[in-house]
């Protein structure tokens, strides 16, 4: 009886707030006791945290910012002094006062003429013209030519400017300038999905001839899916064999799987070129053995087939490794149990073995797919015209056309697409089912 009352008292006590022996609340005491070790743990991870912030979050953030921000028609930044001068002030004021669709009258041309003088002074005509050129080709020379003659222009400015170049009467020039007049714009994203703003400001599809990006996104998606599937089909049996062999053999074979990592990506890609080109080893062998007529050499390089073959080979280890790491610990007694319970070997595989490898398939597929979607060197070298992927175009805009905002918008769309896929994966399979090793 005495025991029971003690128990009841203890139970009541446990429902009240627990305190330490000297009356401090237990939670506070616990936090204080752990604070030191938590702080020390934070100091240990802090370098990595800053490194990741600096090298990952900041550049991506900046890239995403650049995709919606282009100040080339708003500011001129001096390269040496880092001084920024506002440009096109008068014209931007006119755009603010007059809604879209207003016919540019004398006041507008006067503003433009004054701004062209400023452009000439700060040597910004080329940059501002390039910005307009992104939306309407041929505009850069219009700007540089007009800016050169801006000082001599006199009222009436409309006629004077049209004298310089009658393209100034083209409403698309004015629409493009209105678009560029604010540094923040979604137009690069529109361009990235083959859309543009019409003169009246509505969104419309660009010419059939100039449509490019959507097709490339789709091609990238389809090729990536195909390559992911191929690596799965080729990698699953290898991974299974590696996982079931005794460790000393499987380690040796694993080295063979990893061997491609030891050679440079460029070397591997180039060796595929040696093998697959029309005068290459494979074709020569086929012709030499008489399987193929000399004039019927198969075109396996500089097209999609080349991209698919080379990328499947290069990405295969990324599928095999997660599969292997998931398959290795699967005890063979599961399949044996299934067999002893009456399942055929196919049923045992389908119902028992395969479901247990899904985390590895998911991880491998996600890894290969994400790598494939962003792949650059291999398609650039072996892809030819129809084997190019979206990343090749991003690179083109980064290095050749120097339209960084469009490159950033394309990359931003790619990133968004991958995030959507990731989310879908989480929805369908569950991200906690992902097993990389």
């Amino acid at each position: 009886m005495a025991d029971m009352t003690a128990d009841v008292a203890q139970m009541r006590g446990s429902q009240e707030k627990l305190t330490t022996a000297d009356g401090k609340p237990l939670k506070v005491a616990l936090a204080a006791a752990q604070a030191r070790s938590k702080r020390r743990a934070f100091y240990l991870v802090a370098p990595l945290l800053f490194f990741v912030l600096l090298t990952f979050v900041v550049p991506i953030g900046q890239m995403l910012h650049q995709s919606v921000y282009n100040p080339d028609f708003v500011y001129k930044t001096d390269v040496t002094t880092k001084e920024t001068t506002p440009i096109m002030v008068n014209l931007r004021n006119w755009f603010d006062e007059n809604p879209r669709g207003t016919e540019p009258e004398e006041a507008a041309y006067e503003a433009l003429a004054k701004d062209l003088v400023v452009l000439r002074e700060v040597k910004a005509a080329g940059i501002a013209g390039t910005r307009i050129n992104y939306e309407r080709s041929g505009s850069r020379s219009l700007f540089t030519k007009s800016a050169r003659k801006a000082k001599k222009l006199e009222a009436p400015y409309k006629e004077a400017l049209l004298d310089v170049d009658d393209e100034w009467a083209d409403p698309t020039v004015w629409a493009a300038m209105r678009n560029a007049s604010s540094a923040y714009t979604m137009n690069f994203y529109l361009a990235a999905i083959d859309k543009a703003r019409a003169v009246d400001g509505s969104v419309e599809a660009v010419d059939e001839k100039r449509k490019l990006y959507v097709k490339l996104f789709m091609r990238t998606l389809m090729l990536s899916i195909l390559i992911t599937f191929l690596t799965f089909v080729l990698g699953y049996p290898i991974a299974h064999m590696l996982a079931t062999l005794p460790l000393r053999y499987s380690n040796l074979l694993m080295i063979l799987v990893l061997l491609p990592f030891w050679t440079s990506l460029l070397v591997r890609t180039t060796s595929w070129m040696v093998l697959l080109q029309s005068q290459g080893v494979v074709n020569d062998a086929l012709v030499g053995t008489g399987l193929l007529a000399d004039e019927n050499r198969i075109q396996m390089m500089y097209n999609q087939i080349g991209t698919i073959i080379a990328m499947t080979h290069i990405l295969l280890p990324f599928m095999v490794l997660p599969l292997y790491s998931v398959m290795r610990p699967i005890n063979p007694s599961y399949v044996r149990a299934a067999r002893s319970l009456g399942a055929t070997s196919w049923t045992a595989f389908r119902r028992i073995y395969f479901p247990q490898t899904i985390p590895g398939i998911g991880a491998g597929a996600l890894l290969v797919f994400i790598l494939a979607v962003g792949y650059y060197i291999t398609p650039a070298l072996v892809g030819g015209a129809d084997g190019q992927l979206i990343s090749n175009l991003i690179a083109f805009h980064m290095t050749k056309s120097l339209n960084w905002s469009l490159a950033a918008a394309l990359a931003g769309l790619l990133l968004a697409g991958i995030l959507v896929l990731y989310w879908l994966y989480d929805l369908l399979i569950g991200i906690d089912n992902l097993k990389l090793g």
Binding site: Y334, A337, R339, S340, G342, A343, T347, A348
Partner: protein, 363 residues
């Protein structure tokens, strides 16, 4: 014998590498309903035998018959043998119910029949409330019960168990030993049980086959195995045992006189020895050594022994003696009224009945 044989190994041999025989000339017949345990140290070939019976290993030579039919070439899923694995092998991605329904499903049974059978199987192992759990949510003992229920749910006539209790703690193991034997007898199934735990083998089985080196050393009911080991391996492997080495001096009237190294004579029952002059190892159980030599029959030989150590174990006393050069000679005595405690250094006389001391092969 062949008429009643349900499981039959007929001159079965097995080699994995073509150089070493893991199972050498195995002959074994089991009647229906028997609980037979294969007992032996690891690498003795017992698990290989079980795997050959289940169909996961093929016999290199010889025939395995089940109910009179040769099964060497029948794939495992057509043998209809239930099996319980060492690590239970419950499918981790399925619930308990799905695990149990699996063998019924692959046999094409209807859903209502399946549910009924699954429920009955779960009730049989007192796990009726756990049908919707995943294996990972169960304790080791509970998983063991489920594995047992799964092996029985499709009503096989033969069930194989490969060290099923190895991962459980002692108390749970004893409880499960009892439950498995009860189920096996109630359902009338024939069971082949593999273990390296001799207690398990002795308490559960109708017969025990002691394996060593790919050969059945002795196949006998537990009591016979313990009390009448046929060779020194079995004598050593089963239970505790004292051995003394010597040479047979004479055999007469079913009693062998064995001369020990120091020239002293003891009485033994000749088991593996036939002629005077043969080397032998005599074996005697610690509880059969008599320290009160007055109780021995007239003319029995006795030996002098020196107490080395006296261990109090509650119900028994364990006395370690030095006898004829063997410092590890153990004697167990019951903690009975009037039993005296020995002191180390004390000199005593010991002896035994000739039939309790078995003269075995010298190996």
């Amino acid at each position: 014998m062949t008429d009643t044989a349900f499981v039959e190994f007929d001159r079965v041999q097995k080699s994995y590498d073509g150089e070493v025989l893991v199972v050498k000339d195995l002959n074994l017949t089991m009647p229906k309903g028997e609980f037979l345990t294969m007992l032996g140290p690891s690498g003795s070939g017992k698990t290989t035998c079980l795997m050959m019976l289940a169909g996961f290993e093929t016999a290199t030579h010889g025939e395995i018959r089940l109910d009179g039919q040769e099964i060497n070439n029948i794939p495992p899923h057509k043998r209809g043998i239930g099996m319980v694995f060492q690590n239970y092998a419950l499918f981790p991605h399925m619930t308990v119910n799905e695990n149990l329904a699996f063998p019924l499903e692959v046999r094409g049974m209807e859903k209502s029949v399946r549910e009924d059978k699954v429920r009955r199987a779960l009730d049989m192992v007192q796990m009726g409330a756990f049908g919707n759990r995943r294996p990972a949510q169960l304790s080791g003992g509970q998983q063991q019960r489920i594995a047992l229920a799964r092996a029985l749910v499709f009503e096989p006539e033969l069930v194989l168990m490969d060290e099923p209790l190895g991962a459980l703690d002692k108390q749970l193991r004893e409880q499960m030993q009892f439950e498995i034997t009860r189920l096996a007898h109630d359902l009338g199934i024939t069971t082949v049980y593999v273990t390296h735990d001799q207690t398990e083998a002795l308490t559960m089985s109708d017969r025990v086959a002691v394996f060593n080196d790919g050969v059945i050393q002795q196949l006998a009911p537990p009591d016979q195995l313990y009390e009448e080991p046929e060779n020194s391996f079995v004598a050593q492997f089963i239970g505790e045992n004292n051995t003394l080495e010597g040479r047979v001096k004479a055999i007469s009237g079913g009693i062998a006189e064995v001369e020990l190294h120091d020239g002293r004579i003891i009485d033994a029952k000749p088991v593996n020895v036939h002629n005077p002059g043969e080397r032998t190892r005599v074996s005697i159980r610690p509880e059969r050594v008599e320290m009160n030599t007055a109780r021995l029959p007239e003319g029995a030989h006795t030996l002098e022994a020196e107490v080395q150590e006296f261990i109090y174990m509650g119900d028994i006393f364990r006395t370690r003696l030095s006898v004829a050069g063997n410092d590890d000679f153990i004697v167990k005595t019951r903690n009975a009224p009037g039993q005296t405690r020995m002191e180390p250094g004390q000199k005593i006389q010991i002896g035994w009945l000739a039939e309790d001391c078995r003269a075995l092969d010298a190996a």
